[in-house]
């Protein structure tokens, strides 16, 4: 474990940034739940205690334990995801939670970290060549299994987080530019899928390119096959989406399609943030929030409260804190001597970053409404808990960044 000389102190920057974000979240929730006598504020405040315990637990468990238990936690996650599908609380047509009276537990929340651990372990293994087809296929499969279960819940937002995790881990893990392109190429196939002619031209170009790069016959065939399949299946995928998902995507493209339904949230959120101006309408003075024009302000749209009441300045403070958290994690991720810890830090950074980007992007109309909450700020006990746990793990790993094991 820690030996003097190789271990560094607690990273106060990260801790303070996270504490500040939690504090700003509390302010926003206070304001957003003024109509409920600040009920959610007090609950979120109370959740601070178990969240702190989670942070400590994450901070104190040695990295090698996480490494050693990576397969077990991953397997457990799959089991829980399966169970929640079968026995979970099916409120609102989605079965994402286990309901324990007052507390709701969402397995996909912990699953993110479990996936980070297992992928970090896989990619950290010196025996594995990151660029080998085998390693790539294993990491895809490891990601795809929980992903599929979460898609079935269905929880599109979290599922996207799982997909997004993989890319930075592979980049940090040392994937070659060529392989990165190979992985990303199906995305291009999606882009071209809407015209059959373009798709065929693209596939031919891909074939030529792969041939020139002297890829193995197996890989070459695989790439073209996957791209072709994706390109042909995407148009049909639309029909597999749930109605509410279709509506969300359509109204994202044009909020005015449904100004009173899904588009309403985006319009009202943009109005809230835009009307905040430079300095905001003042704490508790957000008319959009206080007069209930914005739904779910204390959870998904907490950033709109900050934007309306504290203005551009307040929003920038939140963004800066998140940027600090993400950059610290990336920074130390690349400086860690242990590859597993290093990749775990990158993975945690990816989770945080993706949540921030998608959630804030949603409140300002850059992304569709996905239901991804904002780390540390959004109301929600188990979400707060898992985020603080991740911060604990990060602080733990950063502290031991000079250790090889």
């Amino acid at each position: 474990m820690s030996r003097s000389g190789t271990s560094s102190g607690l990273n106060l920057w990260l801790l303070l940034a996270v504490a500040a974000l939690y504090g700003l979240g509390l302010l926003g929730i206070w304001s957003a739940s003024a109509g409920q006598e600040h009920f959610y504020f007090y609950r979120q405040l109370l959740w601070g205690a178990p969240a702190l315990v989670a942070l400590l637990v994450g901070y104190l468990i040695p990295a090698r334990i996480f490494l050693g238990l990576a397969w077990i936690t991953y397997g457990l996650t799959l089991l829980l995801l399966l169970l929640v599908l079968l026995f979970g609380d099916g409120t609102a047509g989605a079965s994402r939670w286990f309901d324990f009276g007052n507390i709701r537990f969402q397995p996909s929340e912990l699953g993110k970290l479990a996936l980070v651990f297992i992928l970090a372990r896989l990619l950290a293994d010196q025996q594995q060549n990151v660029n080998s087809l085998r390693t790539l296929l294993i990491s895809f499969t490891l990601t795809a299994l929980p992903l599929a279960l979460i898609m079935l819940e269905p929880d599109l937002g979290t599922a996207l987080t799982y997909i997004f995790l993989l890319l930075p881990l592979l980049i940090a893990g040392g994937i070659s530019g060529l392989m990165l392109f190979v992985i990303i190429s199906p995305l291009l196939a999606v882009l071209f899928s809407f015209s059959k002619v373009l798709l065929v031209i693209y596939l031919l170009a891909l074939l030529l390119f792969s041939f020139k790069q002297r890829l193995s016959a197996l890989l070459l065939g695989g790439i073209v096959l996957v791209n072709g399949l994706v390109g042909m299946l995407v148009p049909h995928l639309w029909n597999l989406l749930h109605d509410y998902q279709k509506v969300r995507l359509l109204t994202f493209i044009n909020p005015k399609l449904d100004p009173l339904g899904a588009g309403y949230q985006i319009i009202q959120s943009k109005t809230a943030i835009g009307s905040g101006g430079l300095f905001g309408k003042g704490f508790g003075g957000g008319t959009q929030v206080q007069l209930d024009f914005l739904p779910t302000t204390h959870t998904d749209f907490i950033f709109s409260v900050i934007g309306e009441e504290f203005g551009f300045v307040g929003a920038l403070v939140v963004l800066a804190l998140f940027a600090l958290v993400t950059l610290l994690l990336i920074h130390y991720g690349f400086r860690h001597r242990n590859r597993f810890s290093s990749l775990t830090l990158i993975g945690i950074a990816a989770i945080m970053f993706f949540h921030v980007l998608v959630n804030i992007g949603m409140t300002i109309g850059l992304f569709p409404v996905t239901g991804l909450p904002l780390p540390f700020l959004s109301y929600g006990g188990s979400f707060l808990l898992s985020n603080f746990f991740m911060v604990g793990v990060a602080l733990n790993f950063i502290r031991h960044r000079r250790e090889y094991t």
Partner: protein
Amino acid sequence: MSPQSRKGRRWILISLTLGAFLLLTATLFYLQIIRYDYYRGKSTQNQMRPETIQPFRGQIRDRRGRLIADNAASYSVWAVPAIARRDTNVIRQLSGLLERDLERLQRKFNQLPGYSWKSFRLLRNLDFAAYARLEEHLDYLPGITVRPDLRRNYLDTTLAHVVGYLGEVREQDLTDKPDLQLGDLVGVRGVEKVYDRQLRGEPGTRFVQVNALGRIVGAEPGYSEIPSRRGKDLFLGIDLELQHLAHELLGDRSGTVLLMDSRNGEMLVGVSRPDFNPNVFGSRLSQETWQSLNDEQRRPLFSRIQQAVHPPGSTYKMVIVATAMQAGISHYYRTECIGAYVLGDRVARCWLEEGHGWQNMRQSLAGSCDVYYYRLGLQLDVNSMAAGARSFHFGELTGVDLPGEQAGLVPDSGWYNERFGKRGWTRGVLLNLAIGQGEVLVTPIQLLQYIAILANGGWSVVPHFGVRLLDREQHLSQSLEFPRWETVLPPVILEVLQAGMEDVVATDGGTASWLRRSAYTVAGKTGTAENPQGEPHSWFVAYAPAQDPQVALTVLVEHGGHGSEVAAPIAFRLLDRYFELYAETGE
């Protein structure tokens, strides 16, 4: 992995992260700084609504200031369509809670502009119990609010046809009444309609903050209220005491009793029966009430005052006398009545079977001798009779301040030619016209105006119920002006007409002599209008006192029988009371 590659990968991830944060920052900058004004305006519009403050509708009072129509507190249900239509159950629940017909309520809701964030009045006149019930369930009724409102309250129910009542403004009328909105009340009958503009007042505006459910949460800071302006109070010429007496005297018979100050045209009494309670239109109409209001036989919604047209019967004889004298026939013209008159193969009877004997013009009025008029009529022609009638304004509107006035009919040769063909009618029609029967049709208010001309020695007045408007906010009283003009009537003709009408009561041969009073003198004329539907209509027209007229009156009892027996007694009992009340002052 080489340290170079490691460093490069670090920069890829860091620049991707920074790029994303820059994108978010740039978007925030765009929303909060560049588009600030737009979103600020939008958020203000979101929460701020101009709400109409309903003006207090002016009261209606009688000539002595006694209240006839007032406003009482009630509650209204308002809906913000854009919110309420999001939940399809809202209207269903509302109809359940208030026990209203779902279909009608839904139809009414559907008429509102569905996209609108404004409040529209959906239902009115809720009592407190209904208000309390609704208030409890408001959480399940997004977009619905209950607010205090005013309800029209009629304290007098004998004046339904004069005062009228209110109804919701029709959509097609909204274009020329920009200060009204859907769901507002306007007068639909009576003086409520005629003086609607003055009574209504002007709505005010206050700026309120509403929440996303459309509920008002308070006044919008920084916006001052534009107060509503109370409507003007309308004072009628009606004397409620006389009105009630007349209403009672007419009883359940259908007809009308009109009493007017003949000097200026102010209406003291305006009874038309059958009538209705105007307050029933304020609340839900029961099936039973609705049926009784639409009774085809009784027609309680039909105002006989200015809308009923009947032959004038013998009350028309003054027209014939005037026409004859204008044509050069002397009032010394005498003829004998033997109870009937024979023209070719037609026998025209006098109402008095034994006959009136020898009569002059004045006597013929007093005894209402039909034979005398048959003879007079045959010396005239249809067109000169029509001209005579028109000189007393028959065939045209009196201009009374009630809506829907009828002009009646004064037939001339053109009319007969059109109706029956050039050869389709004979001089025989003169026999009918001479005694006010046949095709000629008049309204009770026309007869009243005609009697006033005789009472005033030629001066015409416009009968009117509204007398004065009072602006209580500015303490300004404004008298309503109605024209007066002189009808050219040579004094010699006037004298004969007045003397004849006086004799109707004053001489023993007069048709209303049995009603003669010692306290005051009356000049009058009875009339019995034959009609094919049954008993004849009973008319009595008069002015009093005969020497210095103050009032003119018309009484009509439909299917009442002889004028002298039915209509005249009502008139005298009303005049008794009038002179008790107004003897000394003359006012």
